[in-house]
């Protein structure tokens, strides 16, 4: 177990450098003159140019620049965005609202997917099962770039049930609609996986044993079947995290939530290199950590899995 953990952490280091390197290269490779991009239309003096070249190490080759950037990153210095704000401050502003949004979305997804998945798994071919099948197909076939503006337009503006935008200090209600939109990205697959896992487990021999033990139906389904059915669902959540992240960029952009996704959305649009790399680096770390946690949880749920 310990060795497995060490190995995974070392793999994470490699992945982290690989991912940041690619993003860094992509952001800086397509800039001909980053100093002019920073200044925009304004003219730039030679001394300013010299100072900026010094600050961003622009006279050095690309690998040298990456080296300086990583040195800063690893010592906690994310650098300064092209809008001249400290990126670490922008992150401190952006993360809390995004974490709230993500948590609401994940809780909604977990409740809807597991409850509806278990019910349709038990009553296969029933009305409920067929209705959820159609609904999940609709949700699955609707890309988030359509769903998010549509939901905002219909429920936020026309019907006025939810606020169409959210602030930095948004509470549960303000974040509910964006969280629903974000959750819809993954809820359909989670639901289908729960359903098929429950349907399959209900037919298994140990369910017959549990019934022969005189246990109530609630206990057979709620304890014996559910525990086994959650194994694939939990694994999927780790994979889906990446989907949720890219979904958050669109969702926060559409609903004007000043979170991580929103900042990234704007940074990509304005070609703000340091900002993009900074935020993506943190997202990469989050993704890696959550996937490690999911893998550990997987072993906790299924005793047949042992890591060495």
């Amino acid at each position: 177990m310990f060795r497995y953990l060490i190995r995974r952490l070392l793999q994470m280091v490699l992945t982290f450098f690989g991912a940041t390197f690619i993003v860094y290269a992509l952001m800086f490779a397509n800039q001909t003159d980053p100093i002019q991009a920073l200044a925009g239309e304004r003219p730039i003096t030679d001394s300013q140019r010299l100072a900026l070249t010094e600050r961003y190490h622009l006279d050095e080759p690309f690998l040298g620049q990456y080296w300086h950037y990583m040195k800063g990153l690893l010592t906690g210095d994310f650098g300064i965005s092209l809008t001249n704000r400290k990126i670490s401050e922008m992150m401190a502003d952006a993360w809390p609202v995004t974490i709230r949004l993500a948590l609401i979305a994940i809780v909604i997804v977990a409740i809807v997917a597991i409850v509806a998945g278990v019910i349709s798994g038990i009553r296969r071919g029933g009305t409920f099962d067929n209705v959820t099948l159609v609904l999940t197909l609709v949700v699955l076939s609707m890309p988030i770039v359509v769903l998010a503006p549509l939901a905002r337009l219909v429920f936020g503006i026309q019907l006025g049930w939810f606020p169409p935008t959210a602030t930095r200090d948004a509470g549960f209600y303000e974040l509910l609609l964006p969280a629903l939109v974000l959750g819809s990205l993954v809820v359909a697959t989670e639901l289908r996986v729960t359903r098929s896992a429950v349907a399959e487990n209900l037919r298994s021999d140990y369910v017959r044993t549990a019934r022969a033990k005189g246990l109530t139906r609630q206990r057979v389904v709620g304890v014996h079947v559910l525990r086994n059915s959650l194994i694939p669902v939990v694994t999927l959540i780790g994979v889906d995290l990446g989907n949720l992240m890219s979904g958050a960029i669109v969702t926060e952009g559409v609903f004007n939530i000043p979170g991580v996704g929103f900042n990234l959305f704007r940074a990509i649009k304005t070609e703000d290199g340091p900002l993009v790399v900074g935020f993506v680096s943190v997202l990469v770390i989050v993704f890696l950590m959550v996937n490690l946690l999911v893998d550990l949880l997987y072993a906790a749920l299924d005793p047949r899995i042992r890591y060495e």
């Binding site: 037919r203 298994s204 021999d205 140990y206 017959r208 044993t209 549990a210 019934r211 022969a212 033990k213 005189g214 246990l215 109530t216 206990r219 014996h224 525990r227 086994n228 194994i231 749920l301 299924d302 005793p303 047949r304």
Partner: protein, 344 residues
């Protein structure tokens, strides 16, 4: 939850003096998209305390379905009990509501299954799966339940029971797993144990150990045992009486000695002559030609007639042969049983 032992004693019609288990004219069918399969077509048998009844038959003859119908754990749909009675001490279990029937399971009638690896839940420790019985049926605390579980594992002779209580099913060997299953079935001191091919998945030496353990536990507890098997060797060792099933019917029922000495049904006879014997070295084994009938197309008359050497016109027509009394406590569903029995 409280102890539900007492709730069973007040079931309407329960008579401690009545026959332990009596199955009369049990019919089970499976309704599938491809039509109706008649898995059990009138099974009859009875069981006394301390007695071992073997239900013998080929795969797909309805033995396991009969057992599941007695337990009330048929998958329904597609399985339905359409006719008959399953009487435990005078109470027809088929008439009970599910909530009451559930209390009979494990408390009075318990069952062990063929493949203990798939029959145990892979994600819970054996301790949890044992203790669950005491907690849910006897209202015990977690600690008491655990203590009882360790005692049980000791009784089925699992070495180092105290250390192994937290292990998961996949960490046990096949024989040990079947012992865990037996412990689980016996946890609540049932009066009837149904063992559905308990040794099929095990190798021969372990088979003998498990059968020995079952016989011993049965003696200690004066328990009625229904042993479902296709292994005639196992049956000869442990059974008191045998019911031979074919196409969902009990075609012959007799004490074990009689059936081996003088079978009264052509099917039983054919089964016995297909057992390899040492004195037959070098000869070909006799086989029963053909296959058991598909359960959705059982032939008219005697279901065995297409494969039977004794078959005549009478056998091919309905009504099928009734259960003729061959001797006291001995029946056979063959019009020509006299011929079969005297033909040795």
């Amino acid at each position: 939850m409280t102890d539900i032992q007492a709730q069973i004693d007040v079931l309407p019609g329960l008579d401690p003096g009545a026959q332990l288990l009596e199955v009369n004219d049990l019919h089970v069918e499976f309704r599938t998209r491809d039509g109706v399969s008649h898995a059990v077509n009138g099974a009859n048998f009875r069981l006394e305390p301390g007695e071992t009844l073997a239900i013998l038959g080929e795969s797909g003859c309805g033995k396991s379905v009969t057992a599941q119908a007695i337990m009330g754990i048929l998958d329904s749909p597609p399985g339905y009990v359409t006719r008959g009675e399953v009487k435990y001490r005078g109470v027809d279990l088929l008439q009970l509501k599910e909530a009451e029937r559930r209390k009979v399971r494990a408390n009075r009638i318990a069952m062990i299954f063929q493949d203990a690896l798939s029959a145990l839940n892979p994600v819970f420790s054996v301790g949890f799966q044992l203790a669950e019985l005491f907690r849910k049926h006897r209202g015990m605390s977690r600690q008491d339940a655990k203590k009882r579980s360790i005692e049980l594992l000791d009784q089925v002779r699992i070495p180092a029971a105290r250390e192994r209580i937290g292990d998961y099913p996949h960490q046990f060997s096949g024989g040990m797993r079947q012992r865990v299953m037996i412990a689980m079935a016996l946890a609540l001191d049932p009066e009837i144990l149904i063992a559905d091919e308990p040794t099929t998945a095990l190798d021969v030496t372990v088979q003998a150990q498990i059968m020995g353990l079952l016989a011993e536990l049965q003696r200690e507890r004066d328990m009625g045992l229904i042993l479902i098997t296709h292994d005639m060797g196992v049956v000869a060792d442990v059974a008191d009486r045998i019911s031979v099933m074919y196409a969902g019917k009990v075609v012959e029922e007799a004490p074990v000695y009689d059936i081996y000495a003088r079978p009264a049904h052509p099917y039983t006879k054919a089964l016995l002559s297909s057992i390899p014997r040492l004195d037959m070295k070098g000869q070909q084994l006799s086989v029963i030609k053909g296959l058991p009938p598909a359960l959705n197309a059982i032939p008219a008359g005697c279901a065995f007639h297409p494969r039977c050497a004794y078959a005549r016109d009478q056998c091919r027509q309905d009504p099928p042969p009734p259960a003729y009394d061959v001797a006291l406590g001995r029946t056979a569903r063959c019009h020509f049983w006299r011929e079969v029995i005297g033909d040795e």
